[in-house]
């Protein structure tokens, strides 16, 4: 079963507990997915190997970029029906705060969905959704 079909099957069942089997990188990163009040919430569980700066300590910026990219992908794959998994064309990440050594959450919403391209905004936070640690604009190719 393709990644696209596996994702569609999880979506139909409303159960994303098999994400780690479908997407090996999500297991490596400790990333899981759940639906809350109709929105997709992506969680990156804290692990020492996500650290970039041991002095602060702070999460590696790249882990936040990866989390935001996946959160955006999950949201667009959840919202629309496509023949194949949307592909990331560009991602622009703004870093607002350093991420502490704890669980990080992300959610996204599509600002525009066209026939060929979708624009998605994603935000990541730790303690307070109103104080994001990073945000991203992600443009997807849908066809």
């Amino acid at each position: 079963m393709s990644f696209h079909d596996s994702f569609q099957a999880m979506k139909a069942a409303g159960d994303y507990s098999s994400l780690h089997d479908v997407l090996p990188y999500s297991k490596f990163m400790g990333i899981s997915l759940a639906q809350q009040d109709g929105r997709m919430i992506t969680t990156m569980a804290y692990h020492d190997r996500l650290i970039g700066n041991t002095t602060l300590p702070a999460l590696h910026g790249g882990t936040l970029a990866a989390l935001l990219e996946l959160a955006a992908l999950f949201q667009i794959a959840h919202e629309i029906e496509t023949e194949q998994m949307p592909k990331v064309i560009t991602i622009t990440v703004d870093y607002m705060r350093s991420g502490g050594p704890k669980d990080t959450f992300a959610r996204a919403h599509a600002t525009r969905v066209g026939r060929r391209v979708a624009n998605v905004v994603a935000q990541a936070w730790q303690d307070n959704p109103d104080k994001p640690v990073a945000s991203a604009n992600v443009n997807f190719l849908l066809t």
Binding site: R49, T54, A65, I91, D94
Partner: protein
């Protein structure tokens, strides 16, 4: 590619990247560096796959690799233990990484002002002329040890 040869002890230590847990987890190694530029290698690893059907690495892996090498190029430019924070990072994906192949990531810090460093980078397999992804990043010097300047400025402007 030439072996890292630099008499600057600080830079040599930095460029081992053994102090960066996430890079250790990804299994990266620095293959080349010099004033303002760094190249690292990421060995192919099935744990990092985004699509098991094709074996293509997840985009996030490329993002983390480019984020890191862009930051390292700032260190390689300044050659001092200056504290800095990433302001923004843009990545354009040109093609999927080829399954089974190592990924190289190169970044150069091409302009530095008193407060900001400007960096561009590329991820590729064998030739920079056939990039997997392109990166553009900016970094801000915090100048106060490991204090996160961006957060502080948030409070100043609030």
């Amino acid at each position: 590619m030439s072996k890292p040869e630099n008499t600057n002890k600080f830079l040599k230590a930095q460029m081992r990247m053994t102090h960066i847990p996430h890079m250790n987890a990804l299994g990266t190694e620095v293959v080349d560096f010099g004033k303002g530029h760094v190249t690292v290698r990421l060995p192919y690893n099935t744990e990092l796959v985004g699509n098991p059907e094709t074996g293509v690495l997840a985009g996030g892996v490329i993002s983390a690799l480019l984020d890191n090498v862009c930051g390292s190029s700032v260190v390689a430019y300044s050659m001092t233990p200056a504290a800095f924070a990433t302001l923004d990072l843009r990545i354009d994906y040109m093609k999927p990484a080829t399954p089974g192949l190592d990924v190289l990531a190169y970044a150069e810090c091409y302009k530095m002002t008193r407060r900001i460093a400007f960096v561009r980078g590329l991820a590729f397999h064998e030739s920079k002329d056939e990039p997997i992804a392109n990166a553009a990043a900016t970094f801000m010097f915090t100048g106060r040890g490991t204090v996160n300047m961006i957060e502080e400025e948030d409070e100043e402007s609030a």
